[in-house]
Amino acid sequence: METLGHNIFLFVGALLFSCGIITVLTKKNAIMMLIGVELMLNAANINLVFFSRFDPGLQGQMMALFIMVVAAAEAAVGLAIFLKVFQHFKTADPDMAGTMKN
């Protein structure tokens, strides 16, 4: 089938996921980690949308839509928490913000 020859979607998804996971694991800045999480979510969305092209019911695209909504909520709450942590600990490195109380 000719449309499955477009496997490049899957490879792009795999590479985006790997880039995201490397970014999350190796960066010290919390905002870089958030960017990595966004990359991984986009990789998952690429796979969902690619396979949804064979499905007239568009289940995969619906799932991608809800993933986007959750990602937006996650980014908003995550950044709010990060800002509070930055103000308290005066550092952007999550490793330095180790204590829960005082």
Binding site: I31, L58, Q61, F66, V70, L83
Partner: protein, 177 residues
């Protein structure tokens, strides 16, 4: 006429290039701008996969919302930490890099080994020639109002909760301070 495959490879190259730049860049602000390129490239890939509504939503939500939020975060934390340029250091780069490369190899192996055409619904779609032929707006709108009504409402409540929670956490005084 240029075949769509050329565009597919161009946009895939743009997406992957910016993603790799994010991985190796140390400057947080440049990474956020590279994320803009990646998100736009992914949105172009959605168009080429026949998902026009998702592509528009990607631009509106990610580029218009999440990326602006991340920019705000970078500007505000730059003020807090007091440094002019936000440089992100590395922690355990070797272990993290090896983990990422292993995951990439496993994913590529899985993609190369698997035979997606053997899947039930994909072969059925290949036989009948069904699949995305026209705009997806009508189908998505119908789905959202009928079969996916409950997730739609739950997503609405989730967004409301996230908005209130983010505003409360970021602005309000925490008790005991």
């Amino acid at each position: 006429m240029i075949p769509s495959e050329v565009f597919l490879y161009i946009f895939a190259f743009i997406t992957v290039g910016f993603a790799i730049y994010i991985t190796f860049s140390k400057n947080v602000l440049y990474s956020a701008f590279a994320l803009l390129g990646t998100l736009l490239g992914v949105s172009a890939l959605y168009v080429l996969a026949g998902a026009d509504f998702i592509a528009l939503t990607q631009i509106i939500i990610y580029v218009g919302g999440v990326l602006v939020l991340i920019m705000f975060g970078i500007m505000l934390t730059g003020k807090v930490t007091g440094s002019r340029e936000l440089i992100s250091g590395l922690k355990n780069p070797v272990l993290g890099g090896i983990t990422g490369i292993i995951i990439f190899c496993v994913l590529v192996l899985a993609i190369l080994k698997s035979n997606f055409v053997a899947l039930d619904w994909i072969s059925r779609s290949a036989e009948t020639g069904s699949g995305i032929k026209e705009s997806t707006f009508f189908t998505i709108g119908k789905n959202l109002m009928t079969t996916h009504l409950l997730p739609f409402e739950v997503a609405a409540i989730l967004l409301l909760v996230a908005l209130i929670g983010a505003a409360y956490i970021a602005s309000g005084k925490v008790k005991g301070e």
